[in-house]
Every structure is written in structure tokens, then in C-alpha cells.
């Protein structure tokens, strides 16, 4: 085991970094909870029949008047808080990960091509990226939401809320990927192995994806973790502001928005529990991203 760890520098650094270990444990627990939510949760918060209004506003077990069935209490609808945050995290992660995937594919593809071809194509792509950066994510989301409302029939609009939200987040994140991929590609273009491939007359697509892409994956992986945290936060922000998901299919952001109403009336747990989970998830992902950055960039160590 020790010999195995020593063989890989990343693993070796990992077992010597307490922050990274704690972050990995927290993130893994939340992700596992989200993945297995249907089996772990007491009630299904999307299914109105599985909970009852009579159980509403119960506090966590350590407070007076709690019902031991609901460990972290319930909200005003009588939904179990644990079940809500598990399902909420599940939705947040699904949206975050799919938005990240779209952003990465779009951004890396455009960035690689911009770095490889340079010149006019590069200028056009990067100017589009600049414009995109000037638009706040919320505006992008509103824009896409508005377009979707305009062109889609009302019947499918509700079903497509998740897709619209995902697209909006992806569109505000791809720029990061494109910029990093472009800058790293520029560096690689001067390396002699790329020149050798160009000299041979290999197809540009092969040079980009087979030769260059594996060599720029390091920084991109770092961006991926950091941007996963941003994507989850962005989703929470949009849902909190009411542009995102509605109250009947709550993500973490929606849960926090609902909780806001009870902040001053004594039912603090409805706000605090999803907030703490969101903070724990985002902080641990960010710590892991920082750790990955150290592994891939020995000069910062």
C-alpha cells in the first residue's frame, strides 16, 4: 500500500494534506447522499402524498418539541429536512455537473481551435468570450429563460426548467475553459513535438485532440473543480432569486429561498441546514481544486 502511494506523487501529496483529506471525505459523503437519495430519504419531497402538513415546522431533535422521526426537523409543508437537502443536493449536483460538461466541451473545443489556428478565428472567438464575460450570469439566465418562454409551448416549459437553467450556467462558464485552453495551446504550439506533427502533415483535428489536448489537461482539470463549485453556487443564486427552479422541485438554492421567510420567525433550521450543506459542498470542492492545482503546478508548492 505504502509503496503504491509512493509511486504516484499526487497520492503521496494527498495523504500528507489533512485539508484535502477532510474535503474529499465531506464531498464524497454529500455526493453519495445525493446519488442514493431515493433510498436514504425518509420522504420524497416531490411527492405530495409522502408527507403531511400536520408534521410542519418541527424543530431538529435537540430542540424542544421535536419529533425523533425527523432528525433535522421539517419545513412548513411538513417535508423532512434531511430528505429535502438530499434531493436538493442531488438536483444541484446534476445541474452543476451537466452545465460544467457543456461548458467544458464548448470552451475547450473553441479554446483549442483558437490557439491552434490563431489569427482571425482566434480574435473572433476571444471577442465573443469578452462579450460573454461582460454579461452577468443572471442576465444570461434571464435572456435564455425569456427566449425559452417565447418559443416553447407552455406545456413543455415546466419540464424544461432544468435544461434552461443548465444552459444558462454553461454559457456563463465556458469562457474560463476557452481562455485557459487557448493560453495552454499557445504554449504547446511552440513545443517541438507539435511542430513535428505539423511537419508530418497530420490532420489539424488529430494534432489538437491527440497531441495537444492530453498535454493541457492539467490546468483544465483544476478549472473543472473550481468551476463545479461556481456552477453549483450559480444555480443556487439563480434559484434563490426565483429565476431557477420552482418550490415544488427544490434545489439547494430554492430551499434557501424558502428558508428566508422563516429566518425571523424562530424556525432557523429551514434556512440554516440547506445553507450549511451548500457551504460545506462548495468549500470542500474548492479545497480539492486548490489541491489539484498544487499537484499540477509544482512551482506553487
Amino acid at each position: 500500500m505504502i509503496a503504491f502511494i509512493k509511486r504516484y506523487e499526487g497520492l503521496w501529496l494527498f495523504v500528507h494534506s489533512p485539508a484535502a483529506i477532510v474535503a474529499a471525505i465531506v464531498a464524497t459523503l454529500i455526493i453519495l447522499g445525493a446519488v442514493f437519495a431515493p433510498w436514504l430519504a425518509l420522504v420524497n419531497p416531490y411527492d405530495l402524498a409522502s408527507f403531511s402538513l400536520f408534521d410542519g415546522l418541527l424543530p431538529p431533535v435537540w430542540e424542544e418539541g421535536a419529533n425523533p422521526r425527523y432528525l433535522l426537523g421539517t419545513d412548513d409543508q411538513g417535508r423532512d429536512m434531511i430528505s429535502s437537502i438530499l434531493y436538493g443536493a442531488r438536483l444541484s449536483l446534476v445541474i452543476g455537473l451537466s452545465a460544467l460538461t457543456i461548458a467544458a466541451v464548448l470552451g475547450v473545443g473553441l479554446g483549442l481551435a483558437a490557439g491552434y489556428y490563431g489569427g482571425r478565428f482566434d480574435a473572433i472567438v476571444m471577442r465573443i468570450a469578452d462579450v460573454q464575460l461582460a454579461l452577468p450570469a443572471i442576465l444570461t439566465a434571464l435572456l435564455i429563460d425569456g427566449i425559452a418562454r417565447g418559443i416553447l409551448p407552455a406545456a413543455v416549459q415546466q419540464d424544461l426548467r432544468v435544461a434552461v437553467l443548465t444552459l444558462a450556467i454553461a454559457l456563463s462558464l465556458w469562457v474560463n475553459f476557452a481562455r485557459t485552453a487557448r493560453a495552454s495551446t499557445f504554449v504547446q504550439m511552440n513545443k517541438e513535438y507539435v511542430q513535428a506533427a505539423i511537419m508530418m502533415g497530420q490532420r489539424p483535428s488529430r494534432i489538437m485532440f491527440v497531441h495537444i489536448l492530453p498535454n493541457i489537461l492539467g490546468p483544465l482539470l483544476v478549472i473543472m473543480t473550481v468551476d463545479l463549485a461556481s456552477a453549483i453556487l450559480l444555480e443556487a443564486t439563480l434559484s434563490f432569486l426565483g429565476i431557477g427552479l420552482p418550490a415544488d422541485s427544490p434545489s439547494l438554492g430554492t430551499l434557501i429561498r424558502i428558508g428566508m421567510q422563516f429566518l425571523l420567525s424562530g424556525e432557523w433550521w429551514i434556512l440554516w441546514i440547506p445553507t450549511l450543506l451548500l457551504v460545506a459542498l462548495v468549500v470542500s470542492i474548492n479545497i480539492l481544486g486548490d489541491f489539484l492545482r498544487d499537484v499540477f503546478n509544482p512551482r506553487l508548492r
Binding site: 513545443k191 508530418m200 497530420q202 498535454n215
Partner: protein, 567 residues
């Protein structure tokens, strides 16, 4: 006087402690230039870092003693060590570009250093700084001192670095490759300055270098290191003239001479030579089967390459920068053409023009009897893309570090459609590795598992697997140690003779070209200064530029050392 006894430095790592240097003993007297020579990884810089107390973390001195005069350098507290640094021991670094602060004038940097070590007024410090600059040969120092580092040339900057090092009257200066980043003309001036300072000011110099020529030129005593251990130490004339240790002898043999041509270099022990060379037979047969007809030559006629220069006005077209200016040369079929020139002379641009990476603005290129289209006009399937191959300068960047050696080598085989069957490709690639002197099982490893010399062999193997007729070698050995350089040069000579390759050999190193080339062209600022048979160019140079290049190239004075070295 610096005394080092039984010094050992270790670096803890995840595989246990790594011993960087061990059993190092050395004495440097005042006014003595002590050369510390060795190849990369020999630990010579670690010795210097240990003396000045700047070992890179987490390295530490395991045992041994370091004394400067009466001071035991190992028992100093960090504050005391800080006071000794700069005051009694100074350092000159390799790269004058980065060892000066670009945002401070020379004046400020000198005054800052002087005042940090002596309690003097700013005016007095300035006066001393001006005197120092005059002493190290900067004319008009009172005025020039107000300049920023970028306003000085590379050689002048290294002089300023030396002024910084001597401004506190140190007893010892550690010079770590002080001339490696400089062109030959500037190098000899800087070395002369060091020699003068040692004599006039009685400063002891530890001169760390990989270049035996530099040692032969200035060092009084020399210590030869290898793999963290001292191989041999003594008077320069004695060590270079009558080397006792076989390694010193091998190192001397590997240095190419400037004044005559040798057939093959004697190489200490060939890396990975402990296997059957017959494994390479398959690759050799395959290469010979691909040789059709006579060797292929190359002719360049009035070639120009112009790049867009810096824009000076929004409305005016920028003046072009002329990288190649009316270059005409002929590489005879089956011969080696050497191309020499200093940095920025356009050597690499010429290689790029031939390979189609750069588009010539004017002129014709003829390969064999076919005109080569330039730049993007040469389509991806043009036959020259297979016939012309290139061995690059930097073996650390010429192999894709994410691909296995097998993938790197098999690429030309399937790309040019030579071998359809995957197993046969692998077999041939493995055999080619044997042909260039490597273990065939290297095929499953990644580039980072190999040394620079081994990687350069792999790069040569890749070029050969395209069945080239014309090979361009762009500084193929300048990133390598001399003994490895000798191996690679031997390999290229063998391959050229065996397969009738035509080679364009590009180098800034005149001695290497002398050993390799049949014809030599001298390039300067994009223009050919001189071209002719190698013997003629070296023995009877016509152009003044060639003469000065030859005169300034440091060579070991073979005549005085030769007797013992070749017994």
C-alpha cells in the same frame, strides 16, 4: 581561504534520502580560480549552494565541515549567515537577464547592496559604485549608472552582476555558469575580467561550469565531479594534461577539437550498450529496402524570409524584419552541410522554411529535382513531408510527454502507410530503438523516464522511421552533456554513412560542425557570410566574421596537454 572537508548534502524525498553530493573536499586559496567541472547532475551547483547557505529546501548538509577563514559556516545562525552572504561570500548567477531587478536602476541596486553591508552615506556609496563600474570596464560609468538593466547588453549586464558581487569586497565569489548564456565574443571578455579580479583583488573564485574549454582558459586548479563525487582534483595543467581518473580522460576525449577532424569520438561507456545490436537488423533491412536510387540533395536559391516587424504607427505598414536575406546554398546529395551562426542569425528560420513551417517571402527551394512549395502552399500529402525529417534541439519538448515511446515511434509508420499491421509496426519500432542504441523494451515507457541523450536517440529513431532522404538536425546536441553529445554525433555519422542520408546540420558550436560537416556555411543576421568546404572555412577563413568566431571559440590547448591525454 575556503576549506571544505568531507561534505555531504542530502535531499529527503518520498523514496528516502537522496544523496546529492558526498565526500567532497576542496580548498580554495585567496586569488585562486578554482574550476568545478562536471556534467549535469554532477552536484557542482549543490556544492556552491551549500557554501553560500542557500541549499534548496528540503536539502540539508548531512555532515562535513565548511570553513571560510576562521569562520565555521555550518555553526552560523541564520542572521549571521545572512551577514556573511554578500559581505564575505558573493555569487554570480548564470543568467544576467534575471539576476538584476528590471525595475531598479543599476545605481539603486549597487547603492542598496553597498549600504546593506557598510554604514556609509548615499553619496559615498554612489562614488564607490561608479568606481566599481569603471574598474570592471564600463566606460562613462557616472552616466551609465543611471540606466536600467534592459539598457545594457548581455555582456554588460553580466559585468554589472560582477560589480554587485565585488562591491562588498568579498573573500570568495561563487560563479555558477557565469558565461553559459553569453555568445563567444562576450564570454571571453567576462572570463578575462574574472581573471583580473582574482589577481588584483585576491578574491577566491569558485567557477562552476560544464565547459572544459572555459576551465582550460582561466582556472588555476580544477575539481572534476561526477554523480555527486569528486573524481579528480589538482592543478589545471596537470589534471587536463595528465588526467589520472578515467572519467576525466573520457570527458576530455568527448570534447570536439576545433583544429582537426576526428573520425569517431571515444565514448566512456555507451548508455544501454549491454544488449545485442543485432536486434536492430530488422530496422536496418527495412530502411535499406526503402532506399531508392541516389541520395537527395537540396538547393536554395535567393531565399528571403521576412516577418512583420513591430508596428510604429497605426496607419503605416510596419517595417518587415528580414530573418533570411538572399540565402543561396546547395547541399550535395549524400553529404553533410554544416550551418553555423550565433543566436538570432536565422539558422532555425532556415530549417523551418525547408520543412514548410515558415513561408519564404521570395526565392526557390529545390529538393532532389522538384521545387518545394513554401509554407501553407505545401499540402498535407506532399511527398517532401516524408522525405524531409527533422531532429530538434530540445529532446524534452520534441517528444509528446503524454504518449508512450511506442506510440511516438509508430506514428510515422502508419501515417505514411508503410506498415499496415499493428504488431509489425511495434516490432519494427522496437528494432529501430535497438538500431539507435536503446533497449527495445523502452517502447512501453513514457519520455520522462529517459535522460536527455536517450530521448534524443528516440527522436532520431522517429525521424528514421519516416524513411527520410534528407535530415535536418537543428542544434541536436546543444541541450546535452559533452559525453552524450559525442554519442549522438557518433550515431548520426554512422547512420549517415549506412543509409546515404543527406544532412543539414545546424549548430552554434563551431567545434561540433567541424567534426560533422563536409561543407560549412556561416550565417550572420540572415546573410551567408561564407560558404565552402569545411577544411577551407576552418583553415583558411575568408570572411572577417568567420575569423573572429574561430579566434574566440575557447579550445583546450591540446598542444600543451595532448601528450599525456593520448598515451
Amino acid at each position: 581561504m575556503l576549506t571544505i572537508t568531507d561534505l555531504a548534502v542530502k535531499f529527503p524525498s518520498r523514496f528516502g534520502d537522496f544523496t546529492a553530493i558526498e565526500d567532497v573536499d576542496m580548498v580554495i586559496k585567496p586569488g585562486e580560480i578554482h574550476g568545478l567541472v562536471g556534467e549535469s547532475g554532477a552536484g557542482k551547483s549543490t556544492v556552491g549552494a551549500a557554501v553560500i547557505g542557500l541549499l534548496q529546501s528540503p536539502g540539508y548538509i548531512a555532515h562535513g565541515s565548511l570553513t571560510l577563514g576562521d569562520t565555521d559556516l555550518r555553526t552560523l545562525t541564520p542572521e549571521q549567515a545572512h551577514a556573511v552572504r554578500g559581505d564575505r561570500i558573493s555569487m554570480i548567477f548564470q543568467d544576467p537577464q534575471t539576476s538584476l531587478n528590471p525595475l531598479m536602476t543599476i545605481e539603486d541596486q549597487l547603492i542598496e547592496t553597498i549600504q546593506a553591508h557598510a554604514d556609509v552615506s548615499t553619496a559615498a556609496a554612489r562614488q564607490r559604485a561608479v568606481d566599481l563600474l569603471e574598474e570592471i570596464g564600463i566606460k562613462n560609468a557616472a552616466e551609465r549608472i543611471k540606466a536600467y538593466p534592459h539598457q545594457f547588453s548581455g555582456g554588460m549586464r553580466q559585468r554589472v552582476v560582477i560589480a554587485l558581487a565585488i562591491c562588498t569586497d568579498p573573500e570568495l565569489i561563487i560563479a555558477d555558469e557565469p558565461t553559459t548564456a553569453l555568445d563567444v565574443a562576450v564570454q571571453s571578455q567576462v572570463l578575462k575580467l574574472i581573471q583580473r579580479l582574482a589577481k588584483d583583488r585576491k578574491i577566491a573564485f569558485m567557477l562552476i561550469t560544464h565547459d572544459i574549454g572555459v576551465i582550460a582558459q582561466v582556472a588555476d586548479r580544477v575539481t572534476v565531479m561526477r554523480k555527486g563525487r569528486v573524481m579528480e582534483t589538482g592543478e589545471t595543467a596537470q589534471v587536463l594534461g595528465a588526467p589520472r581518473h578515467p572519467y576525466t580522460r573520457a570527458l576530455m576525449d568527448a570534447v570536439p577539437p576545433l583544429d582537426y577532424r576526428i573520425d569517431r569520438f571515444r565514448v566512456p561507456q555507451e548508455e544501454g550498450a549491454d544488449f545485442e545490436r543485432s536486434l536492430g537488423q530488422k530496422a536496418e533491412d527495412w530502411l535499406l529496402a526503402g532506399v531508392q536510387g541516389a541520395p537527395t540533395g537540396l538547393t536554395l536559391q535567393n531565399l528571403y524570409v521576412r516577418f512583420a516587424g513591430p508596428r510604429t504607427s497605426l496607419f503605416r505598414k510596419p517595417e518587415p524584419y528580414v530573418a533570411l536575406n538572399d540565402v543561396s546554398l546547395t547541399v550535395r546529395p549524400g553529404s553533410i552541410m554544416g550551418l553555423v551562426g550565433e543566436s538570432g542569425s536565422g539558422k532555425s528560420t532556415l530549417a523551418k522554411a525547408i520543412t514548410g513551417l515558415v513561408k519564404p517571402s521570395d526565392g526557390t527551394m529545390i529538393l532532389g529535382d522538384e521545387v518545394l512549395p513554401g509554407g501553407k502552399a505545401r499540402d498535407r500529402h506532399h511527398p517532401s513531408r516524408q522525405l524531409v525529417q527533422m531532429v530538434f534541439q530540445d529532446p524534452y519538448s520534441s517528444l509528446n510527454s503524454r504518449h508512450r515511446i511506442g506510440a511516438v515511434l509508430e506514428e510515422p509508420l502508419w501515417f505514411y502507410g508503410f506498415v499496415k499491421d499493428a504488431d509489425q509496426r511495434k516490432e519494427l519500432a522496437a528494432s529501430m530503438l535497438a538500431l539507435v542504441g536503446m533497449q527495445p523494451d523502452a517502447i512501453d515507457k513514457y519520455p520522462h523516464q529517459f535522460s536527455g541523450g536517450q530521448r534524443q536517440r528516440i527522436a532520431v529513431a522517429r525521424a528514421l522511421l519516416a524513411r527520410p532522404r534528407f535530415l535536418i538536425c537543428d542544434e541536436p546536441t546543444s541541450a546535452l552533456d559533452v559525453s552524450i553529445q559525442a554519442e549522438i554525433l557518433n550515431l548520426l555519422k554512422d547512420l549517415q554513412a549506412k543509409f546515404g542520408l543527406t544532412i543539414l546540420f545546424i549548430s552554434h558550436n563551431l567545434t561540433v560542425v567541424r567534426q560533422m560537416a563536409d561543407d560549412t556555411a556561416v550565417l550572420r543576421n540572415g546573410k551567408i557570410e561564407e560558404i565552402g568546404k569545411t577544411e577551407d572555412v576552418y583553415e583558411r577563413p575568408q570572411a572577417a566574421y568567420t575569423k573572429s568566431l574561430l579566434a574566440l571559440t575557447p579550445v583546450m590547448q591540446r598542444a600543451s596537454f595532448a601528450v599525456a591525454a593520448h598515451d
